[in-house]
């Protein structure tokens, strides 16, 4: 392996020219040199940077061009068939692309911090916009600054009516994907019960369910700053492809600690940073797939999956067997009904279930 060959391989990989074998070879080399990883990640980031094309300029040029065509009698107005384009699909893609970051956070709704006199507070309080979704449904919201928020099932987003003032602040319970318009002088801040996230301009996903054990913040691209509520002096800068996990309840954690010791599972630290795993097939991350109507789970315990399924399908699920709760599962649900989903799961782990109305009980 020569030096030149390494650079040939990496440039081929970036430009999508590398064969399967070449990608494997490169992967092997990189794995042997973890110290290169940051630089290689940076190269990939630079590669993905799009040039900002000035569409306005192209549209102006098109008008001039059209004028020329008409003068040459090449274009008549009779042809005109304004097709509404392949719009929606393309826009979604563009949006995904712009979606620079994902943040997943879990916790309960924090208090609204309003400064000013009491009277002012009351006035402001009546100016709070609240958007919420029921289990099993999702919603897309356009904020006054042009930012877009997708709200996942059983979630709530609050923001002040004068949101576009000095600061852009929202409060979240549940999970949401944010596509934030960049404004240098106006940071965008998301409050959850456990953490605050400061963003300069990028896109991200926040998961903040009250009954989850952890607050998760996953960043795909861009940069964000996270502060944990009870440790206001610690600022955590997250790099792309990193996931910050914060245990929601230290007390609960201690009780779990003894159980963990018995099952010999390592006790998770209060705060940890993990690498996001990209799917080899389409280089997406599981953390943002809910937007595409996919429920993805990788190496998840049945107990954790059931919580997600409850929100996804708007049902109540109970597992009556401790062993089943610990079983690890992988998969994707897309258009399956709850029954089809359960049947699919029965293939990987044998269990029985009973359904009465909206309640499902699972046992051996």
């Amino acid at each position: 392996m020569t030096q030149e060959n390494f650079w040939v391989l990496i440039s081929k990989k970036l430009s999508g020219e590398a064969s399967f074998h070449e990608r494997e070879e490169l992967q092997q080399i990189i794995q042997q040199h973890p110290e290169w990883q940051l630089a290689i990640q940076n190269l990939e980031d630079i590669w993905k940077q799009q040039q900002s094309t000035d569409i306005m300029q192209s549209e102006d040029a098109y008008l001039l061009h059209l004028h020329k065509m008409k003068e040459m009698n090449l274009f008549s107005d009779n042809y005109s068939t304004e097709v509404p384009a392949i719009g929606s699909n393309r826009n979604l893609k563009k949006w995904n692309w712009a979606a620079a970051a994902i943040i997943i956070a879990a916790g309960i709704f924090g208090f609204i911090r309003i400064t000013g006199s009491k009277d002012e507070k009351e006035i402001l309080a009546s100016h709070v916009n609240e958007v919420s979704t029921r289990p099993g449904s999702k919603s897309k919201i356009q904020l006054p600054d042009g930012s877009t928020v997708w709200l996942n099932a059983d979630s709530k987003l609050d923001y002040n009516k004068n949101f576009n003032g000095e600061l852009r602040e929202v409060h979240l319970t549940g999970e949401a994907f944010f596509d934030v318009v960049k404004m240098n002088d106006k940071p965008f801040i998301i409050h959850t019960s456990t953490i605050n996230i400061k963003v300069l301009g990028t896109a991200f996903n926040v998961k903040a369910y009250p009954d989850d054990k952890q607050t998760e913040t996953s960043l795909i691209r861009g940069s964000i700053e996270v502060t944990i509520k009870n440790r206001p002096n610690d600022k955590i800068m997250l790099s792309p492809s990193e996931k910050l996990i914060v245990e929601n309840n230290l007390l609960k954690e201690k009780i779990n600690g003894t159980i963990n010791a018995v099952t010999k599972e390592p006790v998770p630290p209060l705060v940890s940073i993990n690498k996001l795993k990209y799917s080899a097939v389409d280089s997406t991350v599981a953390e943002m797939q809910w937007i595409n109507n996919k429920l993805i789970f990788r190496e998840e315990t049945f107990a954790d999956l059931v919580v997600k399924m409850e929100r996804w399908y708007d049902v109540t699920i109970e597992i009556n067997d401790p062993k089943l709760k610990q079983a690890r599962l992988n998969g994707i649900f897309e258009s399956e009904t709850i029954i089809q989903a359960l049947e699919a799961l029965q293939i990987s782990i044998p269990f029985r279930y009973e359904q009465t109305g909206n309640k499902i009980i699972i046992h051996q």
Binding site: V8, M69, S80
Partner: protein, 197 residues
């Protein structure tokens, strides 16, 4: 790839239905990069603008033949290049225009440091490195990175071998890597291990 497929769809809309909406979409999709490509040869904004218009007039005039184009992206770049060189010949501005004299402007390296996890210092170094690339190397890098051409297409457009394109890309990436202190001096015999296993 995907880009070519998208252009193919638009072209068949134009060819089969005289679809002006597709025509407009195609123009807006390609205008900026073709103009920049034309500019690198003509070195005049006005002429580059005019040339792109000329290319698209030809597209409309020959719309019944559009579905036969195998690599549409390559077709557009080749047409732009030929038109531009013809123009130069007519104006007798230059007898020949070697690639080394083309003016290539890279756009995508002008990002803000905070968009990526990089220091200002590294970003400055990257710009410097890119601007100091030899012209031909910079052109190849731009066509592949910013314009989305395949190695094979660039090789055909510039009458080079694919191996040359590969080597030029490796040079560009190595220089970028250097900015991030990524210098590969020697590589352990990993590849040998893979082959033996």
């Amino acid at each position: 790839m995907e880009k070519n497929d998208h252009i193919k769809r638009l072209l068949s809309g134009i060819a089969l239905n005289n679809d002006q909406a597709s025509y407009k979409e195609l123009f807006i999709l390609l205008h900026s990069r073709l103009k920049q490509f034309a500019y690198s040869i003509l070195k005049s904004n006005e002429e580059a603008e005019d040339l792109v218009s000329e290319v698209f007039i030809k597209i409309w005039e020959r719309r019944d033949q559009l579905t036969a184009i195998e690599s549409p992206l390559l077709y557009f770049y080749t047409t732009t290049k030929n038109f531009a060189l013809n123009r130069l010949k007519k104006q007798k501005r230059l007898q020949s225009q070697p690639v080394d004299e083309w003016l290539v402007q890279l756009n995508s390296v002008y990002f803000e440091p905070e968009q990526l996890m990089m220091t200002e210092e590294i970003v400055r170094k990257i710009r410097e490195a890119v601007n100091n690339l030899p012209p031909r190397c910079r052109l190849i890098f731009k066509l592949i990175k910013e314009d989305g051409l395949k190695y094979r297409e660039v090789a055909e457009l510039l009458s080079l071998s694919v191996k040359t394109v590969e080597a030029q890309m490796a040079i560009a990436l190595r220089r970028l890597g250097k900015c991030m202190h990524l210098e590969i001096k020697s590589i352990s015999s990993v590849s040998l291990i893979i082959k033996n296993s």
